[in-house]
């Protein structure tokens, strides 16, 4: 069995082995192997290519951008997604605009250990996919499976554009798979994670598993719920979502991010604009609460969508 975290490490090792343009840069990622051990042993296996940085997010991203301009394929680790705001300017104004402005692409990958875990609190739990997706010029990946976190990270490095790679901390060690994938879906295609008939849940990341559990719960009530895993939120594969809604006529978007302008809002806005006639009921959103992510595990569990919260939201949607 390989965990989601081990899959990330395997992808990094493969990338370092296959592509001399790849190097890793970030806080404590060298001999220490990173705060979550995603780069464990890589500094030893690839001498000089896994570098500890100072405590300087703005400089870390800036360095990656310069290296990318010169033809490298830097992969940088933010110790937590929450700290990427300290490198925000370099990401949204420098990396994101470079290709549009100069025709020179900016192939950097910024790894963002994202999402909530019990006791992590307001500053070690954030989901920033909506923030980065709002900016032109960025690709935002949100893998929710072991297979995807591996293959999408490999693909992220192949892409010429800056990729914000939102890997979910809650899945790091919980989520396991038999083995790494050989054949994989392209990163920009959403995936039908569960087939159904009565309604569609559109989600990604850790919420994929809460949603699948909710769908399972609802089987008892005789409902067949389809679950679409977006995998990448920008670009967003609207076609796959619409195809599912065409089958079910009902859609609930579930995201761990904050509600205002989040992934769920974008999905609903697209589905209603482009698939209005497919809808048998008003499309619904379920997000985290609109407050900072609380510290206490009980508050945290009530702050984010859970399988049971998703199931009851779906119940309401099915009765509409």
């Amino acid at each position: 069995m390989i965990t989601y975290l081990e899959a990330i490490r395997s992808a990094l090792a493969k990338l370092l082995a296959d592509d001399p343009r790849v190097f890793l840069y970030g806080q404590d990622i060298g001999s220490f192997g990173g705060a979550f051990k995603a780069t464990k042993n890589l500094a030893r296996e690839f001498p000089g290519r896994v570098l500890d940085s100072p405590l300087s997010e703005d400089a870390i991203i800036g360095v990656a951008i310069g290296a990318a301009i010169e033809g490298m394929r830097p992969i940088v680790e933010m110790q937590f997604a929450d700290f990427s705001v300290c490198g925000f300017n370099q990401i949204v104004n420098h990396a994101a605009t470079l290709y549009y402005r100069t025709e020179v692409p900016c192939p950097i990958v910024v790894r963002l250990p994202s999402g909530g875990t019990p006791g992590s609190g307001p500053f070690h739990s954030q989901s920033m996919e909506a923030i980065y997706a709002h900016y032109p010029g960025l690709v935002v990946m949100t893998p929710g499976t072991v297979e995807d976190v591996y293959s999408m990270l490999v693909e992220a490095v192949a892409i010429d554009d800056p990729v914000l790679f939102c890997e979910h901390k809650f899945l790091y060690n919980h989520l396991k798979a038999e083995r790494l994938p050989d054949l994989v879906a392209p990163a920009f295609k959403a995936r039908l994670a569960r087939q159904g008939r009565d309604a569609t849940i559109v989600t990604y990341g850790a919420m994929l598993h809460e949603s699948l559990a909710a769908a399972q719960e609802l089987v008892a009530d005789g409902y067949e719920i389809e679950v679409v895993d977006l995998r990448t939120v920008k670009p967003l594969d609207t076609d796959t979502v619409l195809a599912s809604v065409a089958r079910t006529g009902r859609i609930l978007c579930v995201s761990e991010a904050w509600p205002w302008g989040g992934v769920a809002a974008e999905v609903v806005a697209r589905v209603t604009a482009e698939g209005f006639d497919l809808l048998d009921a008003p499309p619904q959103r379920l997000n985290a609460r609109d407050t900072p992510v609380p510290y206490h595990p009980d508050l945290w569990a009530a702050h984010r969508p859970t399988a049971s919260a998703i199931a009851s939201a779906m119940q309401r949607l099915l009765e509409m």
Binding site: F123, T291, Y295, L299
Partner: protein, 336 residues
């Protein structure tokens, strides 16, 4: 330098008060570590073991009415500034009754209204906030106020540190920034963090005064930090203090700190400031080994009873939460 600190003998009363806070902090942190290992504290536990002397010197030299923004490893300084064992455990355990009411936890606690600012995680961020607090005091005509904040060696690499210190220098604010150079930022050693010969070399670049303290020697810390705070209070502008010491524990309790250079542990910088101060107390005949043992038992009793009490307290009830991040009366916002 510690010898110097030892030579100019410190004030007995202050030294003893400082020691008691260091001891209480040490004992409280040992309890926090055991609660963490027992799985009773979720998230993380971040201790200041080995940094108590420098930290307590900040909290103790500040007065009521001053501003203090402690950081990760300031349990001793927090207590000297007025924080309690009770609120420490309530915050770590997420009690509804704690200052953060379970919404934030561990080291992210404070009571801003009392000048005790609650750190955010992003390092360096408290520096401009304390500067702003001091500007507010100046606007209100308050004088003789000092604002102090602590940081680590790694924190000096942040843009926030640079911008905040520069603004304070331009405004000539009574800000004291105390850097605990514990040789590592998480696992990152000084030589991967900065290239200046000495962190004190940064002071001139801001046009502010620099001070060095031996972080393993309470007497030296009390003297140097006290002098820096006094200089700020009397109009000397921002003061930059660097204390050299070693983090005698992991970055957090999850971390075995296997990366720490054994050479440092056996060096002067690796001394345990608590032990050093106990030897000093005895050498000075300010306290006997028995008294010290008694104080530890006392501290342990307070900590254990408090921990037990807090574990019996109710957790925050999600159903009772209003889930509002803004203070605007709900009435005013049909829907946010």
């Amino acid at each position: 330098m510690s010898s110097v600190g030892a030579r100019l003998s410190p004030k007995r009363g202050q030294y003893l008060r400082a020691y008691r806070f260091m001891l209480l902090a040490r004992v409280a942190e040992e309890k926090l570590a055991s609660l963490y290992r027992a799985g009773l504290i979720k998230g993380g536990v971040f201790l200041g073991r080995g940094q108590e002397a420098l930290s307590v010197s900040v909290g103790l030299n500040l007065r009521k009415g001053d501003i203090f923004a402690p950081l990760i490893r300031d349990q001793a300084g927090r207590m000297a500034f007025g924080d309690s064992v009770l609120d420490t455990f309530r915050t770590y355990l997420g009690s509804q009754l704690g200052s953060m009411r379970g919404r934030d936890g561990n080291i992210h606690r404070g009571r801003p209204r009392e000048g005790y600012y609650a750190m955010i995680s992003h390092l360096g961020a408290m520096i401009p906030a304390v500067a702003g607090g001091l500007m507010a005091r100046r606007f209100r005509g308050e004088t003789g106020v000092v604002g102090a904040t602590c940081l680590g060696d790694g924190g000096t690499s942040t843009g926030a540190f640079h911008e905040g210190l520069n603004v304070a220098a331009v405004e000539k604010l009574p800000l004291v920034v105390v850097v605990a150079n514990n040789q590592y930022a998480y696992s990152t050693p000084n030589d991967r963090q900065f290239a200046c010969k000495d962190l004190l070399d940064k002071a001139a670049g801001y046009g502010i005064a620099g001070h060095r303290a031996d972080g393993t020697d309470l007497a030296d810390c009390l003297r140097i930090v006290g002098a820096a705070i006094e200089a700020a209070r009397s109009g000397g502008g921002p003061q930059f203090v660097v204390g050299d010491l070693l983090r005698l524990v992991g970055h957090g309790e999850h971390d075995d700190a296997g990366y720490v250079d054994p050479g440092l542990k056996s060096a002067h910088v690796g001394r345990d400031c608590l032990k050093v101060s106990e030897e000093f107390l005895i050498e000075k005949n300010w306290a006997s080994a028995e008294q010290i043992a008694g104080w530890r038992t006392e501290a342990k009793r307070e900590v254990d009873t408090t921990a037990a009490r807090v574990q019996r307290e109710a957790s925050p009830d999600p159903a009772e939460e209003d889930w509002r991040a803004v203070s605007i009366p709900s009435g005013d916002l049909a829907r946010v």
